[in-house]
Symmetry: C2
Subunit: 462 residues, 2 copies
């Protein structure tokens, strides 16, 4: 029998994270203060993050030790299995070899706990009693709730109100892990109350929820704030996955010609690909491809610019691909990919031609998810379906070209709490959205008056 | 670092199932025809099951080879990991060592595919084009849908109407895997139409759904029927889990003093414990404990008797512990444990004092599930919470007695599609149910007029 999945023994769990800042051909531009436009320093971040995370954010060390306490918790679900998708290959009749890393085996069902565990731990040892965060569809909030419960830290999640109402399962998961989940806008913060005064029926937005979570953290010394993607330290923690995968691919006796992942803020994609990007910098020939929704085509249509991380312009200005902080994507089901910006690390690597991006429409992603479920068994998160859609395109291309090609992708999470999205698709109620040309034009105008407009650089995707 | 989970390499996947019929001190009594009261023969079963499964139902071979095609599909999620519950042990401050087998890693999220894969395969090679089945809360229906999709067999699931309406996620899972799911009672069968004529708003029941699924299979030569628990061949397929677990316990360097599983029809419990029951027959000292809901206390309160497998008295009479085929359990959230009878194999082993049973109330099970989620990370199915509740009791007892004891239990599935049940508990809306004394008395009267009343034997639980 052929080997279906490669599972590393626990003794092979990576003991260090990989920090690509040590190897990037172009160093990252500094992040700027939203008020002054000056580079942000540790003191600006201290009200929000514990010092070990602030240090990781700017560290230039190539490898950073993973503390024993984090390794212990990782073992709850790591190392995760690397699968060979024989069923999908056979169905597509492709000469391509398709591998996927199954990050859906974590208790929260996605890659998110890779960083949530680390953030909970560093907060714990820094004396934090409570962590606040925001969540859209609930993947991140539930992952942080799970990890806070393991370290005995209080967790408060501001969940976008419309999702809070429409997606109760993720909220109940958070509560099962002992977190408090409140619909945002809430009456608990100044930001929330202001919104509610103007519009008591506000459905909320990720931007509002970020403001509320950050405000709640800033008010109380023992409370810190946490972000589930975009930031350098988040991507750092996610590399545990790519490092595992390099060992597993070696056991499989293959090396990827192509790596694919879906991208929202960039963390699941980066977690898998960054150790391979290092190989590429060192001369390996790999095509590394981030897949974004056509409704939120940050890297394929946005410029590389300084822009606010949040809609309400309270977060620092980051150098990144962006559609503008006021860009409102269509309400696609892949809520985790509806972010106007992109992690600065992924953005810089795109600019430097080490990573490229493509976009896909919603219907193609769900069709891909159905094909995957019926050939490989697992039901994927709508976000993950974006990666699968691109894998299927590439596998068909390989067949047409008669090329035996090794494709590796990140199966970032399962879709068992997203079944309503599959129902919309299966019942024919779902449609694609027109490319958001006008909305992009409008929103990009909002990033013109920058504190440091000289830093603006147009995108140079080849 | 201590080893958290033991994962067998794929090469260690068991190549045979274990058939306890070869070793039972008291052979099974025959199953009787519901009309004639005579022992059922292969011809009676042929309209419903393919011949290889009928043969397995009565086989006396100790080990039965698992066909290569089934092994291949098992590799999608097997071998499953054996976990050491350090987090729970620490929380309980117990000297007990607690191990659990994680069967929640399958695409359907439970142990059910262990037999669904086998049944789909044997149907496929026997020329079956379509399989019908019934499902209550949807665990079994979704597992069969998943497995039929892998073998390209049509699958039709009659889902109890009230669950169909209240639990859409499981239904959508079935549809995602390509199955058809209809609310039962339906207009598609004689049985369904009869019920609907009398009561157009009937909420349905497992009994009605069984009748519909069996009728739909009997009508069409290419269509067969499938059951997800109770039957001998189902338990046989589930032993792949216990056989794996024996290898894993050996690697851990421990042997269980106690094995715990929740019991509805008996298949997840039997799957883990039967290979250990063999050890017990051969002299090992193990306490093997099935945990049932106090609302449906089949083994702790029912007699061992011949009774119909279904409410509508169409299925054969089986020798088993039963509360009477007309017993209606309270609407607890652990839908998979609401069965009036018990698998004949498990029943006979209880009668022979190789297995024992206890019952727990609903609130205790959810409290156990919450404790487990906050210490071990994973959110359990409400059924599985019954096993966890008993494990916690035993771990506390071990502490009181100062005994280092090895407890092994089957973590039969995750609860991510059952979050509404957790919400009821967390919001304080859930309560325990009075012990169903009167309902048991009433229902037991219904099993008096048996075709072969001489076979009746009162329960002898010690």
């Amino acid at each position: 029998m052929e080997v279906k999945k490669i599972v590393l023994p626990e003794s092979e769990l990576p003991r260090q994270w990989y920090n690509i800042q040590a190897d990037m051909p172009t160093p990252l531009e500094p992040v700027l203060h939203p008020g002054t436009g000056e580079p942000v320093g540790p003191d600006d971040l201290a009200p929000f993050f514990p010092m070990p995370l602030i240090e990781q954010e700017v560290s230039q060390e190539r490898f950073i030790d993973i503390p024993e306490e984090i390794l212990e918790k990782y073992l709850i679900w790591r190392p995760t299995p690397l699968y060979r998708a024989y069923g999908l290959e056979k169905h597509l009749d492709t000469p391509a070899k398709i591998y996927f890393k199954n990050e859906g085996v974590s208790p929260a069902g996605s890659h998110k706990p890779n960083t949530a565990i680390a953030q909970a731990y560093y907060n714990k040892i820094s004396g934090t009693k409570k962590i606040t965060t925001e969540t859209g569809a609930g993947q991140w909030g539930s992952a942080l709730a799970f990890c806070c419960s393991l370290f005995g830290i209080e967790c408060k999640v501001f969940m976008v109100k419309i999702s809070y109402d429409q997606k109760p399962y993720r909220r109940i998961m958070m509560e099962t892990w002992g977190a408090t989940c409140v619909p945002s806008p809430s009456t608990e913060t100044e930001s929330g109350r202001k919104i509610l005064e103007k519009n008591p029926d506000s459905p909320g937005s990720l931007g509002i929820a970020i403001s509320e979570a950050a405000e709640a953290a800033a008010l109380d010394e023992d409370t810190k704030y946490s972000l589930g993607s975009v930031l350098n330290h988040v991507l750092l923690h996610q590399t545990v996955n790519g490092l595992e995968c390099q060992k597993q691919m070696a056991i499989a006796g293959d090396y990827p010609d192509m790596i694919i992942g879906c991208v929202g803020g960039g963390s699941n994609f980066a977690g898998l690909c960054l150790p391979f990007v290092r190989d590429k910098i060192n001369g390996k020939d790999i095509d590394i491809l981030g897949v974004e929704p056509a409704s939120c085509p940050t890297m394929t249509r946005g410029p590389f610019a300084y822009d606010f991380g949040d809609t309400v312009q309270k977060l620092p200005l980051a150098p990144m691909y962006t559609l503008g902080h006021s860009f409102v994507p269509a309400p696609i089901h892949a809520g985790g990919l509806r972010y106007h910006g992109m992690s600065p690390i992924v953005s810089q690597l795109v600019l430097d031609n080490l990573i490229r991006a493509e976009s896909v429409q919603q219907l193609e992603t769900f069709q891909a998810g159905i094909t995957f479920a019926r050939t490989e068994g697992f039901i994927s998160a709508p976000e993950t379906d974006h990666a699968i859609a691109m894998v299927i395109r590439e596998a068909i291309k390989a067949k047409e070209e008669g090329k035996e090609k090794v494709i590796l992708f990140n199966w970032s999470g399962h879709g068992l709490v997203d079944m309503a999205a599959y129902e919309s698709y299966l019942s024919g109620q779902l449609s694609d959205h027109a490319l958001p040309e006008e909305e992009i034009r409008r929103a990009l105008e909002d990033i013109a008056p920058l504190p440091k407009p000289k830093q603006y650089r147009p995108g140079t995707i080849s």
